[in-house]
């Protein structure tokens, strides 16, 4: 497989859901390109298609029309296992909930996302945790961590494979303002190593963004 390029883009993308005779569009004719090395914010009111756009850009969902690509790697022209491989090796994900595995420690939860769970991965996970001020938490179970700590562990999990793109879907929604700010600052710092795409409805969280994409009713807002 050729190593894909680094630009994230979608062209004339629509995502429709059909319920009987009724068709609802989550996205309609969206075209955009996100060059690497920037912090992108996707904003819009509830139901505007923010999360859908993030899932399309990351290959988690396939558009019903148009195409999304990472460099020259066009998702809907590839097998789902190849797309999963790109997500595993080139992308990192942070969701609204941390989704940590309850029976694993913080460090083990991080290493779960590493391409190979070897000694180097554990070492790297430990370094990242320490780098984000979470020394001493590596052996704690998720039940022993606060909400903010859990989400920061999930951010570190997203970074363990040195992703080209970090995708974050409402990463601060379940956090207080201080913890939310901390998580967004951590994500924003990644732009020196790759792109960061954050979906949020809170404009305050995107004050440092290089570009903000606004959506309304599934369309890009000019």
């Amino acid at each position: 497989m050729n190593r894909p390029g680094r630009e994230l883009a979608c062209e004339s993308v629509s995502l429709a859901y059909t319920d009987g005779a009724r068709t609802t569009y989550a996205l309609r004719d969206v075209t955009l390109a996100l060059p690497p090395g920037n912090f992108y914010g996707i904003m819009g009111p509830s139901g505007s298609g923010k999360s859908s756009l993030l899932y399309i850009l990351s290959g988690l969902k396939m558009p019903t029309q148009g195409q999304a690509r990472f460099g020259d790697f066009i998702y809907n022209q590839r097998r789902s296992s190849d797309v999963a491989g790109v997500r595993r090796e080139r992308f990192g994900f942070v969701f609204q909930q941390p989704f940590l595995l309850s029976y694993l420690t913080a460090l083990e939860n991080i290493v779960v996302a590493a391409p190979k769970a070897d000694r180097a991965a554990y070492e790297k996970g430990r370094e990242l945790l320490n780098g984000f001020g979470m020394e001493g938490l590596e052996n704690k179970l998720p039940s022993q961590l606060s909400g903010g700590e859990k989400q920061r562990v999930s951010v570190v999990r997203a970074m363990i494979n040195d992703p080209d793109i970090l995708f974050a879907d409402e990463p601060t929604a379940a956090l207080d303002h201080t913890n939310g700010r901390l998580v967004v600052d951590t994500l924003a710092a990644w732009r020196v190593r790759g792109s960061v795409v954050v979906v949020t409805h809170d404009p305050e969280m995107l004050t440092g963004a290089d570009e903000i994409i606004n959506l309304r009713d599934g369309r890009l807002e000019k």
């Binding site: 999360s51 899932y55 988690l60 969902k61 296992s81 999963a84 491989g85 790109v86 997500r87 595993r88 090796e89 992308f91 990192g92 994900f93 969701f95 609204q96 909930q97 989704f99 595995l101 779960v112 996302a113 999990r157 997203a158 879907d169």
Partner: protein, 368 residues
């Protein structure tokens, strides 16, 4: 946890039942273990003694060591399948000495039965089974059931020790008291290892006139006949057990599979996030297979250990006094439980793998 507990209980249940069922023939072979050392031949009802032509056949084999006439009576013993008659051999002194030596048995306590007296000596496990000690009655007029009992009370005067169950009295006592009882013939072989071959040669075969013992004239109580009778009478029970076992395994596999699915549903978010961050479906399925295999393996080992501990703990205190000779390490019984972890793993993995192949991780992440 509940699934592991179900596996432990089911392995315990099936291994215990199988061990107990297997103990039935083990019990019979233990009680009648003397058939490994000698064979006795009883005349059919037509004559009181083994007919001369039949004796001639036995004498005619050069491998036969000694042929002894014995007068017998029976005493009841307890077994898992109820009371069974156990033969008390009335032998001439010389033959008694010979036979006890042949079966490796010696007097441990008391004395040997006196000539013509209503006395008997029993081996230790036999005395334990009947709950009798020196001076107690071995058989008497009030004994119940079929062929067991004696017209006069027969006392235990000696306890024997050795590897086989055996009971002896004097021949003269039997001859004087059991007037109409058949006299049987006991034979041994010079080389004890030849006994089975000689038994095979002598065993009466219907519709065959080739010089072997005739079933119309004698019954041969040999090791082979004992095994054949036991296997025949237990075959139906083993069939029932196999059906019960299959049903239990099926139900448990179904139940555990459903438990595994409930457990999987509780962990859907975990699998969704793993799929989202790039785990392939086969990796998720491999994870489930690994976890299920580990759980069933631990459950099986724990169940097998629990069975072994239970059977070992109660072997001597509970089972043996009731005439049930169990082997707590009965490998056949443990083999019988192997389909449990296999069935559970296959059922659980198949259903979960199907769900994993169909599920949409995004819809699960979005729901939260």
């Amino acid at each position: 946890m509940p699934m592991g507990f179900v596996i432990v209980l089911s392995v315990f249940l099936i291994a215990t039942i199988s061990t107990l069922a297997n103990s039935i023939d083990r019990t019979i072979f233990t009680i009648y273990g003397y058939t490994n050392h000698f064979t006795y031949v009883i005349p059919q009802r037509v004559t009181q003694t083994v007919p001369n032509d039949q004796l001639a056949i036995i004498r005619g084999d050069a491998r036969v060591d000694r042929i002894m006439e014995a007068s017998i009576f029976f005493t009841n013993i307890k077994t898992v399948i109820g009371s069974l008659p156990f033969v008390v051999l009335g032998l001439a002194q010389e033959n008694e000495d010979y036979l006890l030596k042949r079966v490796g048995t010696t007097l441990k306590e008391g004395r040997m039965p006196a000539e013509g007296m209503p006395e008997a000596a029993l081996s230790e496990p036999l005395a334990r089974n009947k709950h009798i000690k020196l001076g107690d009655l071995v058989a008497g007029p009030t004994d119940e059931g079929g062929i067991s009992g004696a017209p006069v009370p027969v006392k235990c005067v000696g306890i024997l020790t050795g590897p086989v169950w055996i009971a002896v009295t004097s021949k003269s006592f039997c001859d004087n008291v059991f007037l109409a009882a058949p006299r049987c013939t006991i034979y041994t072989t010079k080389n004890p290892d030849d006994l089975m071959t000689v038994n095979q040669l002598f065993s009466p075969a219907k519709h065959r006139q080739d010089g072997k013992l005739s079933p119309a004239k004698v019954q041969v109580l040999s090791r082979q006949n004992l095994i054949a009778q036991v296997r025949d009478s237990l075959s139906t029970m083993f069939l029932i057990m196999a059906v019960v076992n299959f049903t239990v395994i099926f139900v448990i596999a179904l139940m555990s599979g459903m438990l595994a699915n409930i457990y999987f549903t509780q962990r859907l978010a975990e699998f969704a996030v793993l799929a989202a961050i790039g785990y392939q479906r086969w990796q998720l399925i491999a994870r489930i297979v690994g976890e299920t295999l580990l759980l069933t393996l631990i459950g099986w080992v724990a169940g097998a250990l629990a069975t072994f501990a239970f059977l070992s703990a109660f072997k001597e205190s509970l089972f043996e006094p009731r005439g049930l000779f169990i082997n707590p390490l009965d490998l056949f019984a443990y083999q019988y439980t192997l389909p449990i972890p296999l069935a559970i793993t296959i059922f659980a993995v198949a259903t979960i793998a199907y769900r994993l192949l169909l599920f949409d991780p995004v819809s699960i992440i979005e729901r939260r």
